[in-house]
Each structure stands twice: as C-alpha cells, then as structure tokens.
C-alpha cells in the first residue's frame, strides 16, 4: 500500500520556482472546482476529466488564451486518465497547472502526471479514509454518547472533519502551485508520512471510549438500560466484533447486519 516517495524528476529543475503563478481569482476558482473534482468519476478515466476541469482556469493564462493552441493541447493532456485521492489530487492540480504555465515539455508533464497517481492515492487513503475520517466519526459518536444535542454533535463532527479536509485541499493546491515538478519532496513531509500513525493511535483510544458510550445511548433510546444488561450487550458486541474480524473480507459486517436484522424483524413483527 505504502509507496516510496522520492522526487520523480531530478535531472533538471523546473523553469520557475517560488511563489504561486496564479492570480487570487484563479486560485479561488481552482480551489472551488476541486470540491467537484469527482463529479464525472467513472471506470474508464477515473478522475481524469475532473483534473482537466480544475486545471482549466489556470490554463487560460497560456499564450493565445482560451482560443490558443497551447490551451487546447494542455487541456487535452490534463483530461485523460488520472487516479488519486480526491483531496490530495489538489497537489497534482496545482503542480500540473504550474508545469503547463512554465512551458515544460509535454512528455515530461505526462511522465510526471503518471508518477503522481500512486503516491497521492496511497497517502490520501491512509491519511484521510483510514485515519482522519474514522477518528472524526468516533469523536462525533463520543459526543452523541455523552449526551450532546443533535445540533452540537453535527457541529463538532463537521467542523473538526472539514478543518482537516479543506486545509488539506488548500495545502495541496498551494504546494503544487509553488513547487511545480518538485512537489514530490513536499509529499515526504513528516506530518504526511507519520500522520496516519499519530491519528491512528488517537483513533484506537477513541474507539474504546466512543463505541460503548454510543451503544449505551442507542440501547437506552428504547428503554432504561440496566448496568448488567449493558455489560452483556458490550461483551456480545466485542465477541461479535472478534468473530466478524476473522471472516473473509467479502462477508462485510453491514451485509451480515441486514441478514441479522431482517430475521429479527420477521420474528418480532410476523405473528
């Protein structure tokens, strides 16, 4: 799953370096478009069209503008197959737009584009889907379990999650735009490499806290829960979890829950 993150092009540096080459308006337009980068996600070109969609505002600055040959050639290059984590795709969008504006040779841009897919996919999956999202979910569940109101629970979960989400997209676009083809070095930052492990530790601790709290409130939503009943519920849940974790991956827990609940509903409702 983990891929080695090394600079992919070290033979010659990008023609320009330093600050972002985009105007504030272009940057904002690209950032907002990033929120819809997966709008046409499909099994053929995956994120490809979305990358073209996000890079497009920057390409308008190419010689000849939107009617120029450079614009159309660059947009065609950026709209074919691409795969990455949707949040970290911002890095690719910034770096590819920068490379196009810097006038990098097309074969070099193509190679760079291909090389970015793997690292941006695996990094994002580990950092966001397997760490940040579950940790924020568990915090939301703990809030619910502690008796927070519906509004407060929503605010805690959404503000926390999106603080990370929106910042990650902004960082990605910024680092891509400012570093261009040298962006691979930024992907080796300690917080990106070690982040999943740090968040994972917090997540493991949180799961122990949040799951019983949430279960207590769920079980108590139909009647008062006696301490012994709750201990029994918890023991059964842990035993059930241990059994589910040993099942083949295809037998996912949510599918088995449909079967279990279906049987229970039939037994309790059909007289």
């Amino acid at each position: 799953m983990t891929q080695q993150l090394t600079p992919v092009f070290t033979d010659s540096p990008p023609k320009a370096s330093g600050g972002s080459p985009f105007s504030r308006g272009t940057w904002i337009s690209m950032y907002l478009r990033l929120l819809a980068i997966q709008a046409s996600w499909n099994y053929e070109i995956l994120l490809g069209n979305g990358v073209g969609f996000c890079v497009e505002p920057a390409l308008r600055a190419l010689p000849g503008g939107t009617e120029g040959e450079a614009y159309h050639a660059a947009l065609a290059r950026q709209s074919h197959y691409f795969n990455a984590h949707p949040y970290l795709a911002a890095v690719a969008v910034g770096a590819l737009a920068r490379a196009e504006l810097d006038g990098e040779p097309p074969p070099r841009i193509e190679r760079f584009r291909t090389a970015l897919c793997g690292p941006l996919g695996s990094l994002g999956d580990r950092l966001v889907w397997a760490a940040w999202l579950p940790a924020c979910s568990l915090i939301g569940l703990a809030s619910f379990g502690l008796g927070a109101s519906p509004m407060l629970t929503l605010i805690i979960f959404l503000v926390l999650y999106n603080a990370g989400h929106l910042s990650l997209r902004a960082w990605g676009l910024h680092v891509g735009a400012t570093r261009g083809l040298k962006v691979a070095t930024a992907l080796g930052a300690p917080w990106l490499r070690r982040g999943p492990e740090w968040i994972g530790r917090v997540g493991a601790l949180l799961s122990g806290v949040a799951i019983p709290l949430a279960l207590y409130r769920v079980a108590g939503s139909t009647s008062t829960v006696m301490p012994l009943t709750f201990i029994l519920v918890l023991l059964l849940a842990v035993a059930g979890g241990a059994a589910l974790a040993r099942l083949p991956a295809r037998l996912e827990g949510w599918r088995l829950a449909i079967v279990g609940l279906g049987i229970y509903v039939l037994a309790m409702a059909v007289r």
Binding site: N42, L75, E197, G200, V218, T224, W254
Partner: protein, 231 residues
Amino acid sequence: MIDILALLPFALLGGLLGLDVVSFPQAMISRPIVAGTIAGALAGDPLAGLTIGALLELVALGTLPFGASRYPEWGSASVAGGALHAMLRETGEPADGALVVATLVALIAAWAGGVSMVWLRRLNARWARQLLPKLQAGSASTVVRLQLSGLTADFLRGTVLTLIVMTLAIAPAVLAVESWTSQPRMSGAVVAVLGGSVAAAAVWKVFHAVPRANWLFVSGLALGLVIVWLS
C-alpha cells in the same frame, strides 16, 4: 395512501446528501450521523434522526470510500432511515420496533445506493467515451459538460433512490411496528449488539496496525465504561 408530494423534501435532501458521497463536495455531510440527524430534523424529530444516524455511523465505520471499491451509499440511505425513524416514532403506536425497522430499511437502502453508484459510474464512462474525440481536442465546454452531467445524474440518482425507498418502505414499516412483539429493552439491545459488533470489527481492521493498538483500545474502553458508570 402515501402522499408522494410530502416525501419530496426528503427525496431532494437524499439527492443533495447523496451527491456528497463522491461527486460534491465530500464534506461528509453524507455520513449517517449527519444525514440521519438532518432528515430527522426535517421530519420534526432531530433526536430520532441522530439516534439512528449514530447507529448507522457505527456500522459505516467499516465501509470507507477507497477509490474504485464498491461500498454502500450512506447519504441517501441515512436520509431515508432518519426520516422513517422520526415518522414511526410519531405514529403514536408503541415505537419499540421503530429503531430496528428503520435501521433495516436504511441498510437495504445503503446497499441499493451502492449498486446505483456503480450504474452511475458506468453511465459517466459511456458519456466520457462518446465525448472522447472532443476531450482529446481540448474542448473546455466538453470538460465542463461531463462534470455537470455527472453532478446532475448523481443528484437525480439520490433523489429517486430516496423517493423509491421511502415510498416502498413506509407502509410495511408501519405495519411491522404495529405488530411488534419484542420487549423495548430487547429491541434496543439487539441493535446495540449488531451495531457494536460491526463497529468493533471495523475499528480493529482500521487501527490494528497501530503500535500498541490493543492497549490503547482497552484503555479507551475502561475510560468509556467509567464515563457510562458515572452518567
């Protein structure tokens, strides 16, 4: 007789929150704990929405949206589940089975939503294939058109799915709740055991590679039990 017009706000909410799963903006307003609560609030009982939302969130911990993998669609499903739970509790019948029945409906809707997302991705692929010559020519209008088509189709997918699920589920769900024979304590315990089992397996799969995961989990569990005991 089910009033389809009365279900329209929920269908539109299902479409909107279904969009968030993949297409726009992936801000996790489609997570069950959020979508269920909003739907419950729209039906007049946010706490009922939050309760089923939290239960579905426990189940959803194990289904993370990794790339091209197939996973249940929780946004529209949680809207259907949240709204249904709030409606069933409002019927005036003993609502002991409401949470169980609404959860079952939401889980089936999540499965159907996952299937519909695969269809949508195939449709998007067909559109992309048809427009490939224009994409290869660098046509900006084609790029934008594909994005807008995908967004519109996804919104319609979620809207129609929520409407179908709610239309089909309300009458049998009311019937099931009216005929419910289980003790309230048992109903709550059954959904808690099921949700807890799925959640425990999920967090194990997600966090087991973390150093000292077992100790961290057990420490958290002890802390959680102390809080439950004191509350």
